[in-house]
Amino acid sequence: MLDPAHGGTDFGARGAGGVRESEILLFFAAQVRTALESMSFQVMQTRQGNENPSFDDRSAIVNSQRGAVFVSLHVGSTGLPGTVRVYVMSDLSASNDATGLIPWDRAQAPFLPLSRRFGDIVQGFLAPRFKGSPSTAQAAAVRQLRTTAAPAIAVEISSVSMEDRDALDRMAPGVADAIARGASAFRPLYVVAATNPGERP
């Protein structure tokens, strides 16, 4: 599940040259989609155009799928230009619900170990391509990830401060390939874990 963040009246980060995060992300999402489909993945998107679904609407789309992984795409305002960071949800309390149901507002909790594994794999493919990027995924309280009941990562590209849009666009094939390779490397691990999502394979 690809999630180009923002959209509609929410432009996201904006560069001095008029670059809008919400627009760039559709281009990035198209590239990632192509790369994933070339590896036989079935790909869905939380938005196809300039609409802006809510956080919960986006989560609802992925939560209704079985065996999905969630990749939220972002372009930040800060950071070393030309680097890419993968974020996974930081600590989140697990449910003590006696029914065994996962509360919506903490849907990510059981998937944190898998998300961390997925994030580290993708970041591992990104780091050699984009010098200055960290070697492992970072933890952050990303709102979109919290309500996602699937292995979920947020990928943030730096940044809209780049002087021209072309420089950002040139990063897209590398980002797409790294995500696709990461998903492919993660797939066998996730299949094993699907019956018991909290355990590391």
Binding site: G76, L80, D91, S93, G100, P134, R146, E156
Partner: protein, 257 residues
């Protein structure tokens, strides 16, 4: 034509030229000084009104560690030590350090919080939860992005951790309200762990905190005592860095009504 008045006119004009010659450079200097002064925004004016200088400003100076950007561009923070006359009361102490953090470092490039942001209120609950209520500028003027928003929250929580040992958790409100995100990315519906080994709040400081909370019948305290406080009391007891035990079989997610 009577030209008697002509010498007087010439004298008057000459005098005006001399006066203008003297006054013009002074006026120019004042104008230049005025343009060099930073424009005072509404938020800055409000900050001056809302910021009361806490007690013990003449007390002994304390080494205070403030966390601003390291400048590396990778989202890392760097502590800067300054001497401040900090109060003993945790609420006042926290207000002092946060206001200093908001004032920013010498190098404005290393700021982690928008210059217009104001700390509107600060409360300490008995369980060590700090509630910091900031003006809307914190959310609207911060650079949008996961890294920048995480850095802002980290700078607040690390600064509190380093200087106010009683703070265990941090809850951030924007203009007295709980908001979904800081600027579109970072989740502000939760509390952030500041210091798992926080010192217990003493009876005196708890009393002061209670007084401050009672006295300030503002939306911030309402929000804190309502949904937020309930969530916090749960999260304080439940939250840990990693889930204690892995969950069992995945059940279908609960649909939000």
């Amino acid at each position: 034509m009577n030209r008697k008045w002509l010498p007087w006119l010439i004298c008057a004009l000459a005098l005006a030229v001399i006066v203008a010659g003297i006054y013009f450079p002074i006026l120019r200097k004042r104008l230049r000084q005025a343009t060099q002064l930073p424009p005072q925004s509404e938020e800055q004016a409000r900050r001056e009104l809302t910021q009361t200088t806490p007690a013990s400003t003449s007390g002994p100076l304390t080494k205070t560690r403030l966390f601003w950007s390291s400048g590396a561009g990778d989202g890392s923070l760097m502590p800067v030590t300054v001497d401040l006359p900090l109060a003993n009361d945790p609420t006042l102490r926290a207000k002092q350090v946060l206001n200093t953090l908001l004032a920013g470092p010498v190098n404005p490039e290393l700021r982690t919080l928008p210059p217009d942001a104001v700390l509107l209120a600060f409360y300490m609950l008995r369980d060590g939860t700090a509630i910091a209520d900031f003006s809307e500028a914190l959310a609207t003027n911060i650079p949008s992005g996961i890294e920048s928003e995480q850095m802002a929250v980290d700078s607040i929580s690390k600064t509190l951790e380093a200087n106010v040992p009683q703070v265990r958790w941090l809850k951030i409100l924007i203009h007295g309200q709980e908001v979904d995100t800081l600027a579109g990315h970072l989740d502000l519906t939760r509390t952030f762990l500041v210091n798992a080994k926080a010192a217990p709040i003493t009876a005196a400081s708890a009393h002061a905190a209670a007084q401050a909370t009672d006295a300030a019948k503002q939306p911030a305290s309402k929000a804190a005592s309502g949904k937020t406080a309930t969530a916090q009391s749960k999260s304080v007891t439940q939250q840990s860095l990693t889930p204690a035990t892995p969950p069992g079989k995945l059940t279908p997610p609960v649909k939000k009504p």
